[in-house]
């Protein structure tokens, strides 16, 4: 806003970074349902990383955690 260089470009989109990298990033844990819920759609599907900006390495880890959470009924397989 204060920087005129950014304000002039019409559709400026900030480059999003992976939410699981960097200092004080949350640890991917299948028991953390509230964290997992953020990366699952309303239907219960895993949200692709191009939308959530999770890095490929962390997305693999996240997908595995979500599948584990589904197994113990912490997350749904499908929401009807």
């Amino acid at each position: 806003m204060s920087n005129p260089q950014f304000a002039r470009r019409p559709f400026f989109r900030r480059r999003k970074t992976c939410p699981f990298t960097g200092p004080n990033a949350p640890k991917i844990d299948f028991k953390d349902t509230r964290l997992m819920q953020r990366y699952v759609s309303e239907r219960g599907k895993i949200v692709p990383s191009r939308i959530t900006a999770v890095s490929a390495k962390k997305q693999r880890e996240l997908a595995k955690a979500i599948k584990r959470a589904r197994n113990v009924a912490l997350l749904p397989f499908i929401v009807q």
Partner: protein
């Protein structure tokens, strides 16, 4: 010895005291086979995300185990026989978590998390496209506003 996180779900109509005695029995199996149970967490009666064997709720128990694989295999075998246990999951981990797990933690700090979202400033990419149809005269105006501010 390997480290494991182990979760099992007990049917909802089993009383909570029975669940506790059951977890004690299971941890006894681990210790008999040369392992140790580092931590036991009772998450209590939680609603399941989907129905398992007609159950909508279940008692969740988490155990952090440091034991040889044979002990875990034996415990899982006993658990499969017991009909009150509707689901088990064992995950091998590099290190066991200290303190309460994420499940118990989120209940406590739910309130401070909610506040954090409001503290964030406005997001830059939320703004609509700029209007280019009118001449750009915002600079002189801004200068005026500044001079007014100085006068006041």
């Amino acid at each position: 010895m390997a480290l494991y996180e182990h979760i099992f779900i007990v049917r909802q109509d089993v009383p909570a005291t029975a669940v506790e005695t059951l977890t004690e029995e299971l941890s006894a199996i681990i210790t008999e086979n040369g392992g140790s149970v580092e931590k036991v967490e009772q998450w209590g009666l939680r609603s399941l995300a989907y129905r398992i064997k007609k159950n909508r709720k279940g008692h969740y128990v988490l155990m952090n185990i440091d034991a040889p694989s044979a002990a875990v295999v034996e415990m899982e075998r006993i658990q499969r026989i017991n009909e009150d246990i509707i689901r088990i999951l064992t995950v091998r981990v590099e290190e066991l978590e200290e303190g309460p797990s994420a499940m118990l933690r989120t209940r406590e700090d739910r309130d401070d998390r909610r506040g954090r979202r409001d503290d964030r400033g406005p997001r830059r990419d939320d703004r609509g496209p700029r209007r280019d149809d009118r001449p750009r005269n915002d600079k002189p105006q801004a200068a005026e506003a500044e001079s007014k501010g100085d006068a006041a």
